[in-house]
C-alpha cells in the first residue's frame, strides 16, 4: 500500500522541530524504519513529517563522565561497529546484530528504537537492564528520564507530544560487571518472540544487583524483580519458578509458550552471567 498524503519538512534545528510539532498533527521522522512502514500500511496518517536527519550533533557515540552516551541519530549500524560501545557497553554490542537486517540497520536509529518502544525490541530492554537514562528536549527545555520511568505502556513512553529524544546514556561497564543476552526469533533479525537482557555484579561465585529485563512478554520491557532476588540468592531453579510474567498470546506464540521460553532464556542468561556459557 501507499501512504496517505502528508507534508514534509526538513528541520534544521531542535527548536525548529519542536515548534513544528506544536502546530500540526506531526510526527518526527528519524530512520523511518518503523514509521514509514506504518504509513505505507496506513496504520497511521499524520499531516506532517518532520525529518530530523539533518540536525547536526545528534549522532555521536562517546564516553562522558563514566557513561557511554549515544546520540539519538546514531544509526544501528554505527552502534554495531563502534569500538566504544563494544568496550564500554558490551550488552548493547551483543544486542545489535539481533536488530532487523543490515539494510535496516543502515538507516534505523538508536533514538528511534527507544522512542518507538516496541515491546519486543532489544534496545529498550538493554537500557532497562543497564539502568540507563534518556535525554529529551521540549517546549519547556531539557530533561533527563531514568529508563525505569520511561516505558509507560504499549508504544507509550514518558516523551510528551512535542519532545525530541536527543541522547541515551548507560553506565560504562566495569570489571566486576557481568552481562547476558539471549533471544528467540523465528528468523534472524525478526522481532523476538521472547528475549532477555541482563546485568549483574559478580560477587565471588554469586551475583549481586541482578537486573533482568525481558522483552516480547508484555506491553513494555519488563523487570522480573522476584526472579532477580532469587538469582541473587544463587538458585536458578527458584529464579525460574519466581518468574511472574504475564504475557498475552500473539501472532508468534501463545502465552504458555512464551512463559516456558522465558524460563529457558533465564537459564541460558544465568549461565552467561556466571561465566559458564555452554
Amino acid at each position: 500500500m501507499k501512504p496517505a498524503p502528508f507534508a514534509y519538512a526538513k528541520a534544521r534545528s531542535l527548536d525548529e522541530a519542536i515548534a513544528l510539532m506544536g502546530e500540526n498533527d506531526a510526527r518526527l521522522l528519524a530512520g523511518g524504519q518503523s514509521l514509514i512502514a506504518t504509513l505505507n500500511m496506513r496504520l497511521s496518517a499524520p499531516e506532517l513529517l518532520i525529518d530530523i536527519n539533518g540536525i547536526g550533533g545528534l549522532d555521536g557515540i562517546a564516553l562522558k563522565d563514566g557513561m557511554v552516551e549515544i546520540g539519538a541519530l546514531a544509526r544501528h549500524a554505527a552502534v554495531e561497529r563502534s569500538d566504544t560501545v563494544a568496550k564500554h557497553a558490551p550488552l548493547i554490542a551483543r544486542a545489535m546484530p539481533h536488530i532487523a537486517h543490515p539494510a535496516i540497520r543502515n538507516r534505523g536509529t538508536f533514538g528511534g528504537s527507544i522512542a518507538f518502544a516496541d515491546p519486543a525490541a532489544e534496545l529498550p530492554a538493554c537500557l532497562l537492564a543497564l539502568g540507563g537514562e534518556i535525554d529529551a528536549i521540549g517546549p519547556k527545555g531539557k530533561r533527563t528520564i531514568e529508563a525505569d520511568d520511561f516505558f509507560k505502556g504499549l508504544f507509550e513512553t514518558a516523551l510528551g507530544p512535542q519532545d525530541v529524544l536527543t541522547a541515551v546514556r548507560v553506565p560504562t561497564a566495569t570489571n566486576g560487571m557481568r552481562f547476558g543476552f539471549a533471544e528467540l526469533a523465528r528468523r534472524h533479525g525478526d522481532y523476538a518472540i521472547v528475549g532477555l537482557a541482563a546485568a549483574a555484579k559478580a560477587d565471588g561465585k554469586k551475583l549481586g544487583d541482578v537486573r533482568l529485563a525481558f522483552f516480547g512478554v508484555g506491553e513494555t520491557p519488563i523487570r522480573a524483580n522476584k526472579a532477580e532476588a532469587a538469582l541473587a540468592q544463587g538458585n536458578v531453579d527458584n529464579a525460574v519458578a519466581a518468574l511472574d510474567l504475564d504475557p498475552s498470546d500473539d501472532a508468534q506464540a501463545t502465552a504458555a509458550v512464551k512463559k516456558h521460553l522465558a524460563g529457558v532464556l533465564l537459564r541460558r542468561v544465568t549461565a552467561q552471567l556466571l561465566g559458564r556459557e555452554q
Binding site: 537486517h101 543490515p102 539494510a103
Partner: protein, 160 residues
C-alpha cells in the same frame, strides 16, 4: 518549510537528476515510476522482503522505507547502475551458473545485499552469508543456491 510537493536534485547511477516529487512518494516508487528504473522491485512495502534494496550514499537501504524527498542531495545506485559498471558481473554469473534465481524477483536485492557483504570482506562463512541475507526473501530457490553463489565469489575474489 513544509510542503506536499518538493523539488529534489540527486545523482542516480552517476546521472544528475532534477525532479518534482510528492512528499509521500517512496524512493523505490520514484525510481520505478518517475525514472523508469524498474530493476528495483516492490514486494511487501513495509521493510520485510528486501526486493526494493538500493544504495544510498554507498549503503544498502530499503527503497520502500525512505522517501524520495529525503534523497535531495544524495547519491543513489540501483541494480541497473551496478550492472552496467560491471562491478557485480562475477556475482551475476555465479547466480546464473548455480541456479540462484528462478523468477528473478528477489535477485536485484540479493545481488546488492551480497555485494555489500563481499565488499566489506564479511562473507567469511555460510552462516554469516545467511545472516546477512536474512532480510531478503526468495520465494523460489530455497536459498542454498544463493549462498553457494555468494560463497563461490567470496573465494574467487579473495584469491585475487
Amino acid at each position: 518549510m513544509s510542503a506536499h510537493v518538493l523539488d529534489i536534485v540527486l545523482s542516480v547511477n552517476g546521472d544528475a537528476v532534477h525532479e518534482r516529487v510528492d512528499a509521500r512518494k517512496t524512493l523505490v516508487d520514484f525510481l520505478r515510476d518517475d525514472l523508469g528504473l524498474t530493476g528495483s522491485h516492490v514486494g511487501c512495502e513495509h521493510g520485510v522482503c528486501g526486493a526494493c534494496t538500493v544504495r544510498v550514499n554507498g549503503e544498502i537501504v530499503r527503497g520502500c522505507l525512505m522517501l524520495a524527498a529525503q534523497c535531495d542531495g544524495a547519491k543513489i545506485e540501483t541494480i541497473e547502475g551496478v550492472s552496467d559498471s560491471g562491478a557485480v558481473a562475477d556475482l551475476q554469473d555465479a547466480f546464473e551458473k548455480r541456479n540462484a534465481l528462478q523468477c528473478g524477483f528477489c535477485t536485484p536485492g540479493m545481488i546488492l545485499t551480497a555485494q555489500e557483504l563481499l565488499t566489506n570482506g564479511g562473507a567469511t562463512d555460510r552462516d554469516t552469508i545467511r545472516e546477512h541475507i536474512s532480510g531478503n526473501y526468495c520465494r523460489c530457490t530455497g536459498y542454498h543456491a544463493i549462498v553457494d553463489a555468494i560463497e563461490a565469489i567470496a573465494q574467487t575474489r579473495g584469491n585475487k
